[in-house]
Symmetry: C2
Subunit: 199 residues, 2 copies
């Protein structure tokens, strides 16, 4: 019971932090905001986490490892490179659809923060790029994609295009009705894979 309650409180704090970071930004918010949002005392945050930074690290690592696992799993399937990239795009976009606040935090505070947290998590972030590059490279081997494009670069703009879509939704620059997510996924994959395939 004590054990289960502790797990709950920890989760409660993480979820609250996700909302607060999304709303106010990591730097602009206070630890007391997180505690208030979670409905717990200030000090309890420090019972479960070493520091404010560690709360964000935890949020990032949790979700990013799911992403890495998903990409690797996709890569193991016997499907075309285009289908693999479509599945990757789908996973990322669905992550946003499922929990926009958490994805906003991850993108804004970590993935796109070249200073601060981006630096810290560079290896994990890079692993995602590498996995996508591998998918592109394998596609080239099989003749599905043209060979005169560097897979390393292609993975950057494939990922960049998707992340920019998320940003567009976060900033409310592009529509996010329920079917816009799937349409956007289909269009971006169609365009980039179309450009990567031999004419």
């Amino acid at each position: 019971m004590a054990r289960a309650a502790a797990v709950d409180k920890r989760r409660q704090i993480l979820d609250a932090a996700s909302r607060v970071f999304a709303r106010t930004g990591f730097h602009a918010c206070r630890v007391s905001d997180i505690a208030d949002e979670a409905g717990v005392a200030y000090g309890l945050v420090y019972h479960y986490f070493k520091s404010k930074d560690e709360v964000l690290n935890q949020l990032f690592t949790e979700r990013w490892s799911l992403l890495l696992a998903a990409i690797d799993e996709v890569d193991r399937k016997e499907i075309t490179a285009r289908a693999k990239l479509d599945a990757c795009a789908g996973f990322i976009i669905d992550s946003y659809r499922h929990d926009p606040e958490l994805m906003k935090v991850i993108v804004v505070e970590v993935t796109r923060a070249a200073n601060s947290f981006g630096r810290t998590h560079l290896p994990e972030i890079r692993r995602a790029y590498d996995s996508i590059a591998k998918i592109v490279g394998d596609g080239q081997q099989k003749g599905e994609f043209r060979a005169d494009v560097d897979p390393e670069f292609a993975s950057m703009w494939f990922y960049g295009a998707i992340e920019q879509l998320l940003s567009g939704w976060v900033f409310e620059l592009i529509p996010q009705a329920d079917d816009d997510f799937d349409r956007a996924r289909a269009m971006v994959v169609e365009t980039i894979c179309g450009g990567l395939e031999p004419r």
Copy 2:
């Protein structure tokens, strides 16, 4: 003379700020770091700028208005949509090549910072997306691009792909020898325009 010296000092502070923000990040650096880097007294920063924020705003606005002007000028030319997008990509990449620190600051601290400065400058950022969307839309009108892709979305991933390239260079994830810049530009334009053109 006094006038000229004042302009120099202001510039000196802006340039120093660009270097310091790039190195340390806007939030992590102190105003005294900027003053030290510029070789002026702490208080002088506040003689020329209302606040630390205003220094960053100034850096951003200066460069971003150049970008907006460049895109508009490109759009006015009588060339294909693909050539226009190529010129836009070229301008952004050359901006980075010419002054990587400033572009790093603009991308990391403003463009990609959905909270804080991103919010503040949303209208100007949006104008760039809109201009690119217009180029894509016009290309569709002329039959150069397929019509079944939303220009608004296409501009997001075109810009996103390029910005991710910049990020890759900032993070030192992809090579940045002198000819990598032009190769990257050519590849990304070839891929995305290739995907946008009718098969």
